[in-house]
Symmetry: C2
Subunit: 481 residues, 2 copies
């Protein structure tokens, strides 16, 4: 593999350049000629598909169905919820013409679909028998990005899922919001091996139009946080303007309660940054579209046939065991070239088969995360590959958990908060009085926002880090992507 | 089920109204407040998903990968292929602003993605080793519809897949085009039970920018054809303006050959119109998201527990056998109401379990297509349900095939062509000299177009139906949706 194709930047030296190189050289994505847009290439798509398959299964098992709603939303719909409209207007793409004809009302390309979906729900919901209504959508949305494009992290168009549900009571909606946050947490921690802090958003940071927002926040190696997924209780903020009412068991008409929640391909950015190394990507085994790559290694013409037979057999056996192997029997590339390519693409386990492996009825396993080599008897193949995969999954998560915990520091004074944020980064746990003005001042002066407020009471402090007013609230502050 | 919910129009009396009722009352889709757009409801989505799963499997097995490309395309890209631009411009939605900012170049919402995809391919294709490049995309596209919206049939936005491939030679591209047409034919005939005519499009009717287009055409009960899917050899019409070149084994640089092909949710419209009856939809078993609905039938309190136990058991057994059952144990609805609902939704087989069925160790099967009832011993459950499903699948296809064959008539004179099209509809097989002017005149005067030209030579005629010039070409003329 030439220098041009392989990685040329070390992760510790320049995370930003390293990230761009990994994304493009591992062929996850490519830049597009239109600013802010990227192309999701087949390998990147297959990772996104793994994520989708897992989450889709959890959603279906809990009674959610998929549907599809129109791409274009009338401006009048967006205006029905005032905060929502104000929040999204600056980043909306407007359609004004169809062919040569000017439209009578300009249409927004969806930045999110609350308005058009809640309009449909107002027709579909009639009685308590229709509730809960649990629908999810896999689509793409557009929000104009003014800063530099970073694949998966800051893109104008992104793939995501948006769930939209209707419930009879606030309590039902609360339960849905937290159940979904739990699914997201399982996805992110158990599948992507990315540990997160879970909590509420402050009033300033919540979704525009929500009653409250819950969030999951991960920490990157450069000390900046990434918001991984959010789940909102929309209260009756949408059901009232959109007239989503149901006839209760009490024969009275009630406004319903709605929720919405989403995760996007942004999930990939945290997975890439957290686990990758100087050779490229490391894809956590649970989510890896290819878990094992099998490479035949010839020595001149020594038992070529035996090797070819064995690599095919190994692929078959692993596939039959429910694993996801890939046999790389391309003849135009050397084993060394293949090793580099698959390491760049982050395949968790490599199986090498040479003439000696055939003789000794064994294969050689190589782990992507620590490059440990293991000679494995043919009879123990499946078991040992499984062990390797689980070992990598566990090790990635443990390493990342140590890093997350190590990134959380406590500040007792404003100076200390400022100093930690500016020198070390990470999460800073500090007391906050709950006043948005303090929050705004901290953001303006230090560039840190409240990433999350704990789900459970964590009160230990007594005065706000900014204004010193007595308070028991705790916030986790950080700079973020 | 009240009149309002059930079907109120007979299929034979008003196909158009019947169609709209089936689509909306079976909850496949709903109209949207924006003209031309529809909402794909969960039941409709699950049918589309079945289609997607089948085709996606065929594409992956033959080496195709999925990817995702940007929604917005610069106007300058569309202009690169002149015929393509002229063809699509009248129906393109234009984006002019992001938030308050006017864009420097207006952007088209993709009406199809040849241009933006071929631009990416020009970066990815370098050598013969990179070929063939086989990529498919599942997305939605927008083409402004000026006529009245008909769900799945005439909608401004539609879900589809678009495949885009690059090959070294014309012959490779030819093979791809026909292989894909074969996949589409299998999908449409074997899964959707809709028989089709396969062939080429005339120069007038081919895809704008293609070298040639192949097509599959179905015939509806009202004598109008539906284009079900098309597969195009784009020649070098896109590779030249987009500079898709590869270094051959001969060390020379060559322009590549590209193809594109697609099927959309339009497939659903033919399936609905062809198989449905006065009670609603009939979904062909191979593609049905729910193949069997199980309904408990209580007589007062007689052995309620035994019935409940048995319906659950039946659902388990059918699921374990790889079938797709649904247990309808909702207590707020009567069996009669449920029968109507599931008949409207077209579930192929109903299993009824009453107290007598429990006693006699049997169940009652009811076929959706002919309402035949069958008492089946518990031991034969899976086998008999499978028989029923295959019986329905075969019978739907055979009935439709008889109808298709019966709809093909031959015209020896222009008067005869006109008379058949205007009174009977269907396909009319007639000789055509190959001159687009004759084609245009027929379209203008009779409203019929050449739906397809046979793949194999079918020459039997001697003079053009319009201009009487000697010719051996045969065309299938019809009015179409």
């Amino acid at each position: 593999m030439s220098k041009e194709i392989g990685m040329t930047t070390k992760k510790a030296e320049d995370l930003s350049d390293w990230y761009t190189q990994v994304v493009t050289k591992a062929e996850l994505a490519d830049y597009s000629p239109v600013k802010g847009f990227i192309v999701l290439r087949p390998y990147g798509y297959s990772v996104w598909d793994s994520i989708r398959e897992y989450l889709d299964g959890r959603l279906k098992d809990s009674g959610h169905s998929n549907a599809y709603f129109p791409l274009l939303i009338p401006e009048s719909f967006l205006k029905k919820e005032a905060a929502h409209f104000t929040g999204f207007t600056p980043e909306v793409f407007w359609v004004t013409h169809a062919g040569e004809n000017q439209l009578s009302e300009r249409l927004a390309i969806r930045p999110t679909s609350e308005t058009i979906i809640n309009d449909a729900y107002s027709k579909w919901v009639r009685s308590w028998r229709d509730l809960p209504l649990l629908i999810n959508v896999w689509n793409s949305v557009l929000r104009a990005e003014i800063t530099a494009t970073r694949p998966f992290l800051r893109t104008t168009e992104f793939l995501w899922q948006e769930g939209h549900t209707v419930h009879a009571t606030k309590e039902d909606a609360d339960r849905e919001v937290l159940m979904i946050l739990g699914f997201y947490r399982d996805l992110i921690e158990q599948q992507l091996a990315v540990p997160v802090l879970a909590g509420y958003k402050s009033e300033r940071e919540k979704f525009v139009g929500a009653l409250y927002t819950t969030t999951l926040e991960a920490m990157m190696p450069d000390g900046k946080a990434i918001q991984m997924g959010t789940s909102h209780n929309l209260g009756q903020n949408f059901s009232k303007p959109f007239e989503i009412k149901y006839l209760g068991k009490d024969e009275e008409s009630h406004y319903a309660w709605t929720t919405s929640w989403g995760v996007s391909w942004r999930l990939l950015s945290a997975m890439i940054m957290l686990h990758g190394d100087d050779r490229g990507l490391i894809v956590p085994p649970h989510i890896a579209p290819i878990q094992v790559v099998i490479v035949p290694i010839y020595f001149k013409d020594r038992d070529k046939e035996g090797i070819n037979h064995k690599v095919r057999k190994v692929a078959e056996i692993l596939k039959a065991a429910g694993l996801r192997p890939r046999l790389d029997d391309r003849e135009q590339y050397t084993p060394g070239w293949k090793f580099n390519e698959w390491e760049l693409k982050g395949i968790p386990v490599r199986v090498e088969v040479g003439p000696r492996d055939v003789e000794r009825r064994q294969v050689t396993l190589v782990r992507r995360d620590n490059f440990q080599k293991l000679n494995v008897n043919d009879d123990a193949l499946v078991e040992q590959v499984r062990n390797c995969l689980e070992g990598i999954q566990t090790s990635l998560f443990e390493k990342a958990t140590v890093a997350l915990k190590g990134s959380i520091r406590q500040a007792e004074s404003y100076e200390q908060l400022k100093q930690i944020i500016e020198t070390k980064g990470g999460f800073v746990r500090a007391c906050w009085c709950g006043n948005p003005e303090c929050e705004d001042a901290i953001k303006a002066e230090i560039g840190a926002t409240i990433r999350t407020l704990p789900l459970q009471d964590e009160a230990t402090f007594t005065s706000c880090i900014k204004c010193s007013k007595p308070s028991k609230n705790v916030g986790y502050f950080a700079r973020s992507y």
